[in-house]
Amino acid sequence: MIPRDPQERDAIAGEYVLGTLDEERAGEIRHALARDPELRAAVTFWEKKLHPLSVLADPADPPPGTWTAIAARISPAATRAPSRRSAIARWQWATGGFAAIAAALLLYVVAAPRAPLQPSSSTTVAVLQSSQTRSAGWVALLGPSGLRLSELTRQTPPAMHAYELWSIAPHTTRPVPLGVIPATGEMRVAVLPEGVGAGATLAISIEPPGGSPTGLPTGPIVYTGVLRAS
């Protein structure tokens, strides 16, 4: 419950920004923020007013390669340029991994007995990699009959949570929900919102069991990948 008393709300919003709430309470606030403009204003108040304190942490140069890793994670173009001299070894490995998985996947599509998607020129593939480890966890195939998502290795969300699939259309930043991924690790989305096609980013976040209550990811994004024509 988010308190109604203004002073209590301000105090809890302040504790949320400080980070002193326990995880359950912080989660409540995070969920309430999307539909409670007053609470949002209270949180923004504290972020803005306490911000001057952040100068007490001395600036430091991040390790080299950090930007390259960020660029690789956000840019479809970067993932198509494994020859870039600045690309870090781990990323080159990941790019090689993508090609190998995509190739293996076409075999899978041909071999799978009930596969409704044909490996034609219209098939578009995304390999979703872990935001933490870069390992490939899921594969998504976009074809004439919609989008099919399959786990590559067994994927289990944290207890009392579910994975939810999102699409971010090219040149936009707003994720559109595609649905909660069943515990089987397999999902098909027949009717797709606009913007799901080559170049779109697919992302999987951790959400409450029924999916995000807000229409936007409320938990961490744990897998991402870009749809590409194969």
């Binding site: 105090a11 980070g19 306490l50 100068v55 991040p62 935001s131 936009t172 930043t173």
Partner: protein, 183 residues
């Protein structure tokens, strides 16, 4: 279209990032990464984890810039908020223990003339004045939580006080701050 001459403040850059400009994100990184990495490092205390926090934060900035409601001067605070939340999450993942043997943790936040280190601008001046009016333990608790990412338990350990007392210091400190900072 890029407009390099005007792309120099976090506010302008975040707006451009919201429109999907990767060069703007790169400029934002050039401008803000050292500050934000410093904030993350202070909280998680490990360079490798701080670098991951920074990576995740910039990917999140790229994805969420569209939902950021622009208010002049607020972008830097928004970026700080994202990095702090990411860093606190990473710290919780580690069990959120103050590593033993590092007794200097939190020293900056509790040194007597710490408020003099804040910037000279109006926002910082107001915060300095209002923090200065708090009871010392309330002020230290708020600052240890914000700057070092300390939990109630961490603060209790650092200030050698019972947990319940620390909880009330933080809460009462915030209520007094709110009254002082509100117009």
């Amino acid at each position: 279209m890029e407009q390099p001459a005007s792309l120099s403040s976090p506010d302008v850059l975040v707006e451009a990032v919201a429109r999907g400009s990767e060069p703007a994100l790169r400029r934002l990184y050039a401008l803000e990464s050292a500050r934000l990495y410093g904030i993350a490092l202070r909280i998680v205390r490990r360079p490798d984890i701080a670098a991951e926090v920074l990576q995740d934060a910039f990917v999140q900035i790229w994805r969420n810039a569209g939902s950021f409601a622009p208010e002049r001067g607020a972008a830097a605070a928004w970026l700080t908020g994202i990095v702090r939340f990411r860093a606190l999450d990473a710290l919780r993942g580690q069990g959120r223990e103050i590593p033993s043997g590092d007794s200097a943790l939190g020293d900056v936040a509790v040194e007597p003339d710490v408020l003099a280190k804040l910037d000279a601008d109006a926002d910082a001046a107001a915060l300095r004045r209002c923090l200065g009016q708090l009871e010392e333990n309330q002020r230290s608790s708020v600052m240890l939580a914000f700057v070092d990412g300390f939990s109630h338990a961490d603060i209790a350990k650092r200030l050698s006080a019972p947990l319940g007392t620390v909880k009330s210091w933080v809460r009462r400190g915030l209520i007094a701050l709110k009254a002082c900072l509100s117009p």
